[in-house]
Amino acid sequence: MVEFRNVSYTYPSGQHALNRINLKIDDSEFAFVVGANGAGKSTLIKLILRELTATEGEVIVNGFNLSTMKKRKIPKLRRTIGVVFQDFRLIPNMTVYDNVAFALRVIDAPTKYIRARVPYVISLVGLTEKARSYPNDLSGGEQQRVALARALVNDPQLLIADEPTGNVDPARSFEIVDLLKAINACGTTVLMVTHQHDLVKYFGGRIININSGTIAFDEFIGGENET
């Protein structure tokens, strides 16, 4: 669950990025976050990940109150969140398997668990055949699926996808969102930031439009795929 209560954020330069935002995303929800460049989408994500701390108001994520949380607790919060970026952020000298396993290794997960969990998650994103390949040998869509597997491997409560289709061709973009929908159907809350209005129109659902640091629009719309 993600909740913003009267949240404002002002950068040290004095730029107001968010202004008294109120927002609640329940468990197992799927929401698109849309808005122009500089509208405040990235700041919103950074506040959820506790990369930034709200200058005003309260941010609550998966039971953690980020406004009062101590710095040493940040890793615990982040273990409940999976993140996928537009530029994939895969490690080029690691295989698909190692890239996914990396997310578990660095949180001191047991080897047995890693050996069982990683192949399962790789199969979920349909890349079993490519487990021994390196990221540079994969297409953009496949690389994004590896990033998705890495985000999912720790079984997060919340999945944040920051422009996940930005570097993927249009046909594969729909596959990625389909995959995110399937993940959401299993109970994971998904928050997808995007610029691609065709995707939003096609899939529909909850749309949160941020404009000049405020929520301009927050409603459910029907998707073209439902008609």
């Binding site: 940040i74 952020r89 490690i91 660095v106 047991p110």
Partner: protein, 301 residues
């Protein structure tokens, strides 16, 4: 922490050294030189202290009597010396005894060179021993003020020269070592920054997936630890070799003994373990601590 994680972190430390090998090598060299400078300085100081101790343990002062002093005045001087509370032993050593003693130590060739000397050039003297070595300077001053005393030769003179040498070398080595330690930290800091840059992708992902601060920092600690230990090993090896050579040179050269008049050098075997421990501890502190401090600064986790 799990054993698998420990192995993983150690491996990451080695990987970091390899990826950043030029900077790692620079760190290794500068830590090695710094350790050697500290080590040589300490060993030199220890040996000089040992020499000073050896000289002081002999605590024999030679009181040279002015040439031509009548016998009764020589005896009077002896009584005055015995009356000094810090003098517990007074022995008269005549110029004839001194000449005979000197001839005994001479080779035939040297005796041949001295055959034309008709008159004994050596003075009469008293050889005295003091009770409290700490009051030696004061006692020497008291003796010097007595009548019929030409000069006083005390170990104090040689000891003070050695103390001077020790102080100068300690100051010199301290200054050089301090400079090297600063250079060490600068090089380690640069090396760590390069290492952080090389591993920026991993570090970034580690942050997002919830790796703890210590988990992110440990590979850098391991990297510094390995460099520190290697440096300590190399510095110890070089010091051991150099010390043995110097020790052998002093041990085999009789003229060195005649200069110093004592066997005060410390054999390396007796100080091998403390030296090794000191090198390891200093190497680890310089390497690991330096790296962790720099990593914290550059990682900003």
């Amino acid at each position: 922490m799990r054993l698998s994680s420990f192995k993983y972190l150690v491996k990451q430390g080695f990987t970091g050294i390899w990826f950043n090998r030029i900077n790692s090598f620079a760190s290794l060299c500068v830590i090695t030189i710094s350790l050697m400078m500290v080590g040589i300085s300490v060993l030199l100081s220890m040996n000089i202290n040992s020499m000073i101790g050896s000289i002081e343990s002999r605590n024999e002062v030679i009181v040279v009597i002015t040439d031509g002093t009548p016998e009764n005045n020589v005896a009077l001087l002896g009584d005055q010396l015995r009356g000094n509370p810090n003098i517990f032993e007074v022995n008269f050593y005549s110029k004839d005894d001194a000449w005979a003693g000197m001839l005994e130590t001479m080779t035939e060739e040297e005796k041949h060179d001295f055959r034309y000397i008709r008159e004994n050039p050596l003075p009469d003297c008293y050889r005295i021993r003091v009770s409290d070595i700490d009051k030696l300077s004061k006692t020497v001053a008291e003796i010097s003020s007595l009548d019929f005393v030409d000069s006083v030769q005390s170990p104090d003179d040689f000891a003070s020269i050695l103390v001077g040498i020790r102080n100068v070398t300690t100051l010199l080595f301290s200054a050089v070592t301090l400079s090297l330690i600063i250079v060490c930290f600068v090089i380690i800091s640069n090396s760590t920054r390069a290492s952080v840059y090389a591993r920026r992708r991993e570090i970034n992902i580690m942050r997002y997936v919830g790796a703890s601060k210590s988990f992110i920092e440990i590979p850098f600690f391991v990297e510094g630890l390995i460099i520190g230990l290697l440096s300590a090993g190399i510095a110890y090896g070089i010091t051991w070799f150099a010390y043995k050579e110097v020790y052998a040179m002093f041990s085999s050269d009789v003229s060195m003994y005649s200069i110093f008049g004592l066997k005060a050098l410390i054999p390396f075997d007796t100080i091998a373990i403390p030296t090794a421990v000191a090198y390891l501890v200093c190497g680890v502190i310089l390497g690991a601590l330096g790296t962790v401090v720099s990593a914290r600064k550059h990682l900003n986790v």
